[in-house]
Each structure stands twice: as structure tokens, then as C-alpha cells.
């Protein structure tokens, strides 16, 4: 009885989904196979094209309207792939000379520095690089800054007396701040900040600062937005982040008690981290790619960045976002990644060695 094979074959149960899914599958494959003969409409001799491919480390909400305006102004379409800046840099590195990308926009100068070091980026025209003040572009011209974000100390004004706030990021190692300052040591912006510190103070002093922060039991978070959320909840009193996360969090919930504390302009703690753009070496539409970058540095685009994403425009003469201190005098991210020797590997090694990651 136990093994009685009395079940009639019930093909119907399997056939139904297959009947729906098989044609769906076939159609999709067909569409994909037919749809990719538009691979290159570029005129490689002149470096211009009707359409270009952009890899954007900046999310669509924050750049799409500007790309649409560019298309309207120039007739050039932009095919954009959005992702994490570091992962897109790895993608470009892995794709090598066959990369479909023409332009790369990165929220982290470190990712651009890495690609420049591997000779994946081409030198931009001097006229483009000179649009921004010194220090907001790579010294070899391989990338140019588009906007800036300022590092700040965000704090919960229900838990922190403003007179307790430090005058310098270097003061956060004081035992008075034990357990009170959230950091994101594995995050790109923090890594860029530590790289700048190495550049400014040297490796031993940087390691000393990181170790002291570790000794202060600074709670770890994965990224800026998580720190801002935790400060808003009151889980941690303060945190080292980029300025615009809190502005956006307040927009979503104006009742939040989180406030940005801008450190003095010449302090390392108010470093400006640029979002930069570059044209790939492998691009056959380099001229058009530079056209996009210079358009993003046009007055129209820079005003839009300041107004709508609350970032600092880098084109001189454009006002800072409403309610924020002006950019003049802020320590720029003037890092020449090549001069650091071991480059950014040294930064992650120092961070790890310090024990600040818990």
C-alpha cells in the first residue's frame, strides 16, 4: 500500500505556468537580441556622438532633471546607468577598454583617483578644468569637480548643549566625547576624509587620531544617512557626516531634533568632498562627454544644484544654498592621490589598524 503508484500524472499543474512563461521568455530574449545593434553611433574620428553613455554614482532623483535639460539644450541623449560610485568604478575597471561608458560621475573623489591611477581616464581640456577653483579638480586634469559637500558634525539639540560642541574635529578625541560621536569608517566619504587628513597631518598623526576615536568607543554606522537617522532618534548624540543628508531628513520630517554644526572653515572637519566627473580613455565620444561635463558646470546647472540638491556649486560666483555658510575659505579636498604613495590602500589600512571599526 505504501508505495502504491496511484497518482495520475498531473501534468496540468506544470503546464500552466510554462504555457505563460515560455513565450514570455522567448519574447524577451528575442527583444534583447534584436535590440542591441545600436551599439555605436559615434563618429570616432571627431569624438562626437548623438548619444553618450553615463555611469552615474549619483542617484537619478538628484541628476535626471539636469540630464533632461542637457538633452533639450543640445539634442544629445544621455543613457545613464545609476549605481554606487565605488561599484561603478570597479565595473569600469573590470570592463577595461570595452567599457560602454563614456562619462563617469562619482560622489567620491577616491573612486576617480583610483581610475586615474589605472590610466582609465583621459585628460580634460584645460578650459574645462579651469572653470573651477584650484583644488576642485585633479591636478593632472583627469577629472573635474561638479559640486561639493561639506563635512559637518550633526548633533541632536535635545541631547547636546551647543557649548559642548568642538571647535575642531581633532578635539573629538577628548574623553568628554566618549561614546557620543557616530562614525562610518567603511564609508567612502569617511575614507576620503581620512585620506585628506593623511595628506595634511601625515600618517602617524592620522593613526593617532583614529586610535583615539576608537578608544572613545565611537559607535559605528555603515553610512551617512544611518548616522543622521540615529542622531534624529537620539540613539547617538553626534555624528560625522556630509552636510546635505540632514537637510534632506529634515525636509521629510521637520520635527527631527538633528542640527548641522559647521566646524570653522579652515578646520579639517569641514573638508569639502567633491562630486566629480571624468571622461573614459576608452570613449569614442570624448568631445561630447566633455560637453556634458561643461554643461553641468554651466550657470544654469550650478544654480539648479544649489537650489534643488542643496550642494555647493563649484562655479565661482554662484551663491551657496540658502541658509548655508558660503564656501569661501573652506578647506578644499586638495588631495593629489598619486602623491600619497600607497594611494588609498594606505587609508583603509590605517582605518583598520586603528581599531575604529568595531
Amino acid at each position: 500500500m505504501l508505495y502504491k503508484p496511484s497518482v495520475p500524472p498531473r501534468l496540468n499543474t506544470m503546464q500552466l505556468p510554462l504555457r505563460i512563461i515560455t513565450p514570455l521568455l522567448a519574447l524577451s530574449l528575442l527583444a534583447a537580441a534584436c535590440g542591441d545593434d545600436s551599439s555605436s553611433d559615434a563618429d570616432s574620428s571627431s569624438g562626437t556622438a548623438e548619444s553618450i553613455t553615463l555611469y552615474s554614482g549619483r542617484s537619478p532623483e538628484l541628476i535626471d532633471p539636469l540630464l533632461d535639460a542637457f538633452t533639450e539644450a543640445t539634442g544629445i541623449t544621455v543613457d545613464a546607468r545609476y549605481g554606487d560610485s565605488a561599484e561603478l568604478a570597479l565595473l569600469i575597471q573590470t570592463e577595461g577598454d570595452s567599457s560602454p561608458a563614456d562619462v563617469f560621475i562619482s560622489q567620491s573623489p577616491g573612486a576617480l583617483g583610483l581610475l586615474a591611477g589605472e590610466d582609465r581616464l583621459q585628460a580634460l581640456d584645460r578650459s574645462l578644468v579651469d572653470l573651477v577653483p584650484d583644488g576642485f579638480a585633479a591636478s593632472d586634469g583627469t577629472w573635474v569637480g561638479l559640486t561639493g559637500r561639506v563635512r559637518v558634525l550633526v548633533y541632536n539639540d535635545e541631547l547636546v548643549d551647543p557649548s559642548d560642541l568642538p571647535a575642531s574635529v581633532l578635539d573629538l578625541t577628548d574623553p568628554a566625547y566618549t561614546g557620543r560621536v557616530g562614525v562610518a569608517p567603511t564609508n567612502g566619504s569617511f575614507q576620503d576624509f581620512v585620506t585628506a587628513m593623511r595628506n595634511e597631518l601625515g600618517d602617524p598623526a592620522t593613526l593617532e587620531w583614529l586610535e583615539a576615536m576608537a578608544g572613545n568607543d565611537s559607535p559605528n554606522y555603515p553610512k551617512n544617512s544611518a548616522i543622521v537617522e540615529a542622531v534624529g532618534r537620539g540613539e547617538v548624540e553626534m555624528g560625522l557626516v556630509n552636510h546635505y543628508y540632514n537637510l534632506r531628513a529634515l525636509e521629510a520630517d521637520p520635527s527631527l531634533p538633528s542640527v548641522n554644526h559647521f566646524l570653522p572653515a579652515d578646520d579639517l572637519g569641514s573638508l569639502v568632498i567633491v562630486t566629480g566627473g571624468a571622461v573614459l580613455n576608452s570613449s569614442d565620444a570624448a568631445v561630447t562627454g566633455q560637453e556634458l561635463l561643461s554643461w553641468l558646470l554651466s550657470e544654469e546647472a550650478q544654480v539648479a544644484f544649489a537650489a534643488e540638491t542643496q550642494e555647493y556649486p563649484l562655479l565661482p560666483g554662484i551663491d551657496a544654498p540658502t541658509g548655508l555658510p558660503g564656501l569661501t575659505g573652506f578647506a578644499a579636498d586638495t588631495i593629489d592621490y598619486d602623491l600619497l604613495g600607497d594611494g588609498l590602500t594606505g587609508t583603509v589600512e590605517l582605518i583598520r589598524e586603528s581599531g575604529i571599526e568595531q
Binding site: 508505495y3 500524472p9 506544470m14 524577451s28 538628484l62 545609476y82 549605481g83 554606522y221 568595531q358
Partner: protein
């Protein structure tokens, strides 16, 4: 053919090895470094703890919803697999917002005089979140197995005077153990590869280290990826050798499985199930709903912070399309491997199986980059780079493990004598397979397809890097929204993802397992 499938799945491992050679990584020194051993130990500790808790919960839940007279069990059958579809960073964010110090729950209960909640960061939080969101890896295969058990053995045991608990332990459990182990293994592999939850909850694992080093210290990141892959392979092979020693129970049922009466335990069990699903599913959904509602009713002017329900249509269709196609392709690809193992105990198939399964433990971004590496300059297939077929291949590469283990359990449960009987009646092999074996494997295969579908619907790294330009999914929408601080839109997209997966899971998986 089995060999070809195996070679396909070797791709990511070969890539990791090649990168290690190319970058000159000294894998031994990476491995024996205190900064690697400590995260590795934490990965293993979390993996074992989460596997253990999900095995207990997944099995218990499957038994209660499939085999007892639990009230509202049909609803619970639908709800139980769904937590798998939460991307782990969404689940962790919602849990933190709810339970962390200063969170929503604390605000709710503080009037009751309770003002401190247990700390959710670190091991405890990661363990809890991953248990909530990965137990369906156990639940689905076990539920499918329990739904197809014959009543006769259990009836005999009952007649011999055994109580319900003894029957469960001595009759039901041995017959489902293969599915339970399969699920536990998937949970372990997922846990050691997870990035989203551990990083948000501040628990430092090997995968978190790989992510931190992936760009600026590639030699070390790739060395650690190799270590992770090695650990996964070892565990998979160990489980496989255990599985070979376990007696395979081939069973066929002729009537619906027994329904056990819970008696006076009916209501306590109901409360337990409801409380668990309340935490794993309803709680996060409520928090997401709160954010979405706040965004929909607020008057927001800042760019990118508004909500736009209409913009989610396209991503929803893409998500459904990717999930369904991947599920079918994955089952079709791994079935031959599972069949060869179960039928012929083939060594080649065994090795192929280990590759397929262990690949699941490599972080998604590594698998995606390996595909880029192998495909971009390849003749013919290079033309498919960043098209839908290649994206599907990436998903199959990453999630093949889920289909493989489920298919293996399904194939092993089909009595060989049926095939022999059909052969003596003159049926050819293809016909025997289609008309005798395939229908009997249906529940197990559907469970595997369901796991692959849900995993694909939330997949992020490969989708970002390899999808055709413009092929947005709900998962990429959620991520972009999170990246730009658009909490409400992200919450809305998450809710759509949960709703869509509920519909698809019901139509494609649960309804069919039930009616089997």
C-alpha cells in the same frame, strides 16, 4: 551537459582565483591576519546561529500551517514565505526605526513605564533580523515536502499508540530532514554573504570587510572573497556527504496528508504564529506604511523627496518579469544536475552541485563582476553584455543554489521503481520523465522556483551593474530612494514589492503546492 553546467557555475570562483593571482595576494597571510580571523569567526558564529533558529522556526511554521488545524492556516501559508522579499537593508532599517533606542516602539510603550528596549545593535540585532528575513529558505522546501507526505506511515504510528509529538519526531521529521538540511544550508550561505543587515546593525563580518576594502584594497578584498568561497565549499561538501549517508525516503502519497488536531494547543499556537509573523512581516510593513503615508500626505517641494506612485509601474513590471523568467530558467538549468545526483549518484554531478551551491555565498557584487570579466570581450555572447538575457544569467549564477537544493530534494523523493515500471510498459526516457517523474517533483520544484523568484525580485548589485539601461526594478528604486534620502518613496516602493511578491507567490507557488 552536467559538466557544462558545472563549468558555468565555476565562473565566479575562477574569477576570484585569477584576481588573487593577478593582484599577487598572499592568501595565507590574509587568512591568518587577526583582522580577517575575527570577522571570519563572527561570520561563522552568525551563520550557525541564524541557521539553527531558522530551522526550528521554518520547520515548526511549515508543520503548523500545512499539517494542523491551525486557525487561518491558509492565510499564514501565503504570508509565511513573504519576509524573504525584504531586501535585508530595508528590513534592518525598518527594525532599527522600530526597536532602536528612541524608535517608534519606544515612543509607543514609554507611557506604559517601559523606557529601555534591549540593544538591537551587534550580534543580537543581526541574528534577529536575519532570522526574520531568511527563515523562508527553510519554510518553503519543508512545507512543500510536508504537503506531499503519505498519511499511511503516520496512521500506522498512531495506531501503534504514539502521541502526536512522537509521531512528528519519529515519522514526519525523518521524512523531511533532507528538506530541512537543504533550507538550513541556504540560510547559512546567505547569512555569511549578507551585507545589508550586518552593516546596518554594526556586526563586523567577513563580507562587510570585503565591501569596505573592495575598491581601495582589492588584493585583500579578493583574498577574503577566496576565503569565504573556501568556507562555503567546505560546508557544502560536508552537508552533501551527510546527505549521502542519510537514508533517502522515497514516498508517494495516494491521499491528502493527515491533518493533526492541535486540541487545546490550537489558540496558543495561533498566538505564537501571529506574534512571529507580526514581527517578521507585519511590523516592517507597518513601519514602511507609516513612512509612505507621511510622505504622501506631506507637502514636499525639494527635488527627489516627493512621492510618485505612477513611476513605480515600470519597475513593477520589470521586477515581475525578471523574477518569473529567472525562476523558470534556474529550475531548468539545475534540474539535470539534481537528477544525475539523485539517480546515479554521479561524482561529476556532485562536484557541479557543490559549485552551484557554494557560489551563493560569494557576495553579489563579486558574482556580477565575474560575469563582466568573462563576458565583456567574449565572442558572440559579448554582444549580450548588459542585456536582459545576460542579467538573467547573472541571477541564475547567483541564485542557482536555491533551485539546486530544492530540486535535489524533489528528485530524491520520486521512487525509482515508478520509472522502472514505466520503462517495462514501453515508455521512453523523455516520456517517463515528463509524464511520471516531473509531476511528482512539482511541489519541491515549485518551492525552489519560489525561493529563486523572491530572491531575484530583491536582488540589487547585479541588477545595478548588469541590467539594460532603463531596466529599473523595485529593488533599484528602493536603493536610489535610500541613497537620496527619499524615505517615503523608498517605503512606497518596498510596499509595492511586498504586495507584488504576495500575488506572485500565491499564483505561482502556494496555490499549486496546496492543490497538489
Amino acid at each position: 551537459m552536467v559538466l557544462a553546467i558545472g563549468v558555468f557555475f565555476v565562473g565566479p570562483f575562477a574569477y576570484v582565483i585569477w584576481r588573487n593571482v593577478d593582484l599577487g595576494t598572499d592568501v595565507w597571510s590574509v587568512l591568518w591576519d587577526r583582522d580577517t580571523l575575527q570577522p571570519l569567526r563572527q561570520s561563522l558564529r552568525l551563520g550557525v546561529a541564524v541557521s539553527f533558529s531558522t530551522v526550528v522556526i521554518g520547520t515548526g511554521l511549515a508543520w503548523l500551517t500545512i499539517r494542523t488545524d491551525l486557525p487561518a492556516r491558509r492565510m499564514f501559508r501565503l504570508l509565511s514565505p513573504l519576509p524573504l522579499v525584504f531586501p535585508s537593508f530595508v528590513g534592518a532599517t525598518a527594525l532599527l526605526a522600530g526597536f532602536a533606542s528612541g524608535g517608534l516602539v519606544e515612543e509607543l510603550i514609554s507611557p506604559l513605564g517601559i523606557d529601555t528596549l534591549p540593544d538591537m545593535r551587534g550580534f543580537r540585532g543581526a541574528w534577529l533580523v536575519l532570522t526574520f528575513f531568511t527563515y523562508p529558505y527553510v519554510y518553503l522546501p519543508v512545507a512543500a515536502r510536508m504537503a506531499s507526505l503519505p498519511p499511511s506511515l503516520e496512521e500506522s504510528a498512531r495506531m501503534l499508540g504514539r502521541g502526536p509529538w512522537a509521531v512528528f519526531r519519529t515519522v514526519v521529521l525523518p521524512q523531511t530532514s533532507s528538506a530541512i538540511w537543504a533550507g538550513g544550508l541556504l540560510v547559512f550561505l546567505y547569512t555569511i554573504s549578507d551585507f545589508g543587515a550586518v552593516t546596518l546593525l554594526g556586526y563586523d563580518t567577513l563580507t562587510e570587510q570585503i565591501y569596505a576594502d573592495k575598491l581601495f584594497d582589492q588584493a585583500r578584498a579578493m583574498g577574503m572573497a577566496l576565503v569565504l568561497g573556501g568556507v562555503a565549499l567546505t560546508v557544502v561538501m560536508a552537508e552533501r556527504s551527510l546527505d549521502r549517508r542519510r537514508s533517502q525516503v522515497e514516498v508517494l502519497r495516494s491521499r491528502a496528508p493527515l491533518t493533526v488536531s492541535l486540541g487545546r494547543w490550537r489558540w496558543p499556537c495561533l498566538i505564537g504564529v501571529a506574534a512571529f509573523l507580526g514581527n517578521a512581516l507585519i511590523g516592517p510593513v507597518a513601519i514602511l506604511g507609516f513612512w509612505a503615508w507621511r510622505g504622501l500626505t506631506a507637502d514636499v517641494e525639494t527635488i527627489g523627496l516627493g512621492t510618485d506612485v505612477g513611476s513605480l509601474w515600470g519597475p513593477m513590471l520589470h521586477t515581475a518579469q525578471a523574477g518569473l523568467i529567472t525562476a523558470v530558467v534556474a529550475i531548468a538549468v539545475v534540474l539535470p544536475v539534481a537528477w544525475m545526483i539523485a539517480r546515479y549518484n554521479s561524482r561529476v554531478a556532485g562536484a557541479a552541485n557543490s559549485m552551484v551551491v557554494a557560489g551563493f555565498a560569494l557576495p553579489g557584487v563579486v558574482t556580477a563582476l565575474s560575469l563582466v570579466f568573462w563576458v565583456i570581450d567574449a565572442p558572440v555572447i559579448g554582444r549580450w553584455y548588459q542585456t536582459l538575457p545576460l542579467l538573467i544569467i547573472a541571477y541564475v549564477l547567483h541564485f542557482g543554489a536555491q533551485a539546486t537544493r530544492a530540486a535535489h530534494v524533489a528528485v530524491a523523493a520520486v521512487p525509482r521503481r515508478l520509472n522502472d515500471a514505466a520503462a517495462t510498459l514501453g515508455a521512453h526516457q523523455p516520456r517517463r520523465f515528463l509524464s511520471v517523474e516531473l509531476p511528482l517533483m512539482t511541489p519541491g520544484l515549485l518551492a525552489g522556483a519560489g525561493l529563486v523568484m523572491l530572491s531575484t525580485m530583491k536582488e540589487l548589485p547585479a541588477t545595478l551593474l548588469l541590467a539594460p539601461i532603463g531596466f529599473d526594478t523595485l529593488s533599484t528604486q528602493i536603493w536610489h530612494a535610500g541613497d537620496s534620502g527619499a524615505l517615503a518613496q523608498g517605503a512606497l516602493a518596498s510596499l509595492v514589492l511586498v504586495a507584488l511578491s504576495a500575488v506572485l507567490t500565491w499564483v505561482v507557488v502556494i496555490r499549486r503546492i496546496e492543490s497538489y
